[in-house]
Amino acid sequence: MIKKIINNPKKVAEEALHGLNLAYQGKTILLSNASAIVKTTIHDQKVALLVGGGSGHEPLFAGFVGTNLADGAVCGNVFAAPSPDQILAATQAVNRGKGVLYLYGNYAGDNMNFDIAAELATAMDIPTKSIRIWDDVASAPLEKIEERRGIAGDLFVIKIAGASASSAANLEELTRITTKARDNIRSMGVAVSPGSIPETGEPTFEIGEDEIEIGMGLHGEPGVAREKMMPANVLVDVMMEHILTDLPFVAGDEVCLLVNNLGATTMMELLIANTRIREILADKEISVYDTLVGSYCTSQEMAGFSISLMKLDNELKKYYDMPADSLALIKR
C-alpha cells in the first residue's frame, strides 16, 4: 500500500478538484457535479475551449484553465475519462453561443465519452468539434498516428488553442489552428518507477531495480523497450532520435521544448536532461524558441520524464507568445 496524504480514497478526484478551484482564488467556479471547473468570466460570443480527461495527471487538465487558455476542464476519476453527462454539463457551462472545441488525449475512454457528449450537445443545438491529441511517438507507428496516445504535448496544444480561442472568429478557425498545433508536436516519455492509484494503493506497473521503460505512457502503459539503466545523456539520445525523426524536425526548424516531470523525478534530473537535449538540437541546427521544465502532466508519483517538441511557424508563434494565466501555466 503506497502512502498517500488523502482522506477518502474514493473521493480523491473530487476533493482535489475542490482544492484546485479554491487555489484559483475566484477565477474559476466548480460545477455542482464537482467534476468540472470553468472560468468565472467567459465573454459573450467567445468560441469556447473545453479540455479534460481522467484525473491523476495534475496539474493537467484543470490547472490550465484561465486567461487565453481553456475555458473549462472536465475531470473524470483517477485514470478514467469523464462521463458524457459530466462533459455535457461543462459544455453547457462554457458555451457562449459560438460552440465548443473539445480537446483531449487520444484514449478509447476519452474518445467514446466525448463523442457521446458531442452527440448530446448537438441534440441541444450546441455545436462542438473534437481534437484528439496524439503526440506520443512511442505508442504506434507514424502510419497509425491516429492510434497514438496523448501525453505531455497536451500542454502546448492547450496553450495555442487557448490563445487562439480568445480571438478566433468561429469554431472552424479555432479547430484549424489547434489541429496544426497538434500535428506539429511530438513527445516521448521514460519511467524508472511506477505511480499508484489511490483506491488500490498498488503500483501501476512492475519494474526491475536497474531497469527503465523507454516510451512509457501516462497510465503506466508500456513503451518501445525495457532496458537497463543508462546514463542520462545516452537515454536522451535515444528519446530524441525517436522524436526528431518522426515529424521529422530538421535543420532550420524553430521549436518550443517541454521537459516534463511524470511525477517523482527531481528537477535536477530534468535539467541534466535539458543540457543534453540542447546539445543535440544545437547540433542539428534546430533552434529553441522557448523552454518549459517542470511538472505539467504527471502520472501520480511515477518517476520519469518526457520530452515534447512543438515546431513553430509564424501563426503558432503568434499564439504561443500571447500572455496566459492559470494555476499551472503562466506566461507574461
Partner: protein, 216 residues
C-alpha cells in the same frame, strides 16, 4: 422447474444480484487491468454497479426496457473511462431489443444481447479478435440467438458459457485497442478485463435465474 420469463420486478431483482456480485468482483477485475491496462477496471465497474444498486433502490420503472435503459445510463454516468461508455452503451442498446416487452423471456433476451452488441460496436468500433469485451459478448449473443427457444435458465447458461470461452480466448489475443495496445505480445496470456466483466455479468445472470428455478 424451468424459468421461462422474468417479470419487471424480477428483472429488478436480477440487477440487484448482478450489482452486488460485480461490486464483489472489484479487486479481481482491477488485478486483471493491472496486468495489461491501467489498473482501474474493477474500481470503475464497482463504482458503476454501486450507482446501479442505488438507482434500483430509489427508482420506479415503467417497463423492462426502462430498467435496462436506466442501468445503462447509470453506468454511463458513473463509471467514466472506456468501460463506462462500453457497458453503458451495452445496456442502453440492449433496452432497444426489449421495446414493448412486459417481461424478459428467451427471445427477448436474445434480442437484447444482439441489440447491446450492436450499440457497443457502433460506439467502440472493436470487432472480435481485438481483445475487448466484444470477444465475450459476440459469441454470447450468437449463442442466445441459436437457443432462443430454450428456457431462460438454459439460454443464460449457454450464453454464459459462450462468453466464458470467448473471454478465455482473449488470452491468446494481442490487444489492438485501448491501453493494452502498446503491450503487444506482452498482453498474451492475460485475459481482457472488460471481457471478464462481460462474462461475469452473464454468469451472474444465469446464477440468479438458476436460483429462481431451484426455488420453484
Amino acid at each position: 422447474m424451468a424459468v421461462n420469463s422474468l417479470s419487471l420486478e424480477q428483472v429488478k431483482d436480477l440487477f440487484v444480484f448482478i450489482s452486488s456480485h460485480m461490486i464483489e468482483s472489484k479487486d479481481m477485475l482491477t488485478h486483471a487491468d493491472q496486468a495489461i491496462g491501467d489498473g482501474d477496471h474493477g474500481i470503475g465497474m464497482a463504482r458503476g454497479f454501486e450507482a446501479v444498486a442505488e438507482k434500483l433502490d430509489s427508482g420506479d420503472f415503467s417497463s423492462v426496457a426502462d430498467i435496462f435503459r436506466s442501468v445503462g445510463f447509470t453506468l454511463l454516468a458513473s463509471i467514466g473511462g472506456a468501460s463506462g461508455a462500453i457497458f453503458g452503451s451495452f445496456f442502453i442498446g440492449a433496452s432497444n431489443g426489449l421495446k414493448d416487452c412486459s417481461k424478459l423471456d428467451s427471445p427477448a433476451f436474445a434480442r437484447c444481447l444482439q441489440a447491446g452488441l450492436e450499440m457497443v460496436k457502433i460506439r467502440g468500433k472493436a470487432k472480435v479478435g481485438d481483445k475487448t469485451m466484444v470477444d465475450a459478448l459476440e459469441p454470447a449473443a450468437q449463442a442466445a440467438q441459436a437457443n432462443k427457444e430454450k428456457s431462460l435458465d438454459e439460454i443464460t447458461l449457454l450464453t454464459s458459457q459462450a462468453a466464458e470461452s470467448g473471454k478465455e480466448n482473449t488470452k491468446n489475443l494481442i490487444a489492438t485497442t485501448g491501453k493494452a495496445k502498446t503491450l503487444g505480445e506482452r498482453s498474451l496470456g492475460h485475459p481482457d478485463p472488460g471481457a471478464i466483466s462481460m462474462s461475469l455479468i452473464l454468469r451472474f445472470t444465469h446464477e440468479h435465474i438458476q436460483g429462481l428455478s431451484n426455488e420453484m
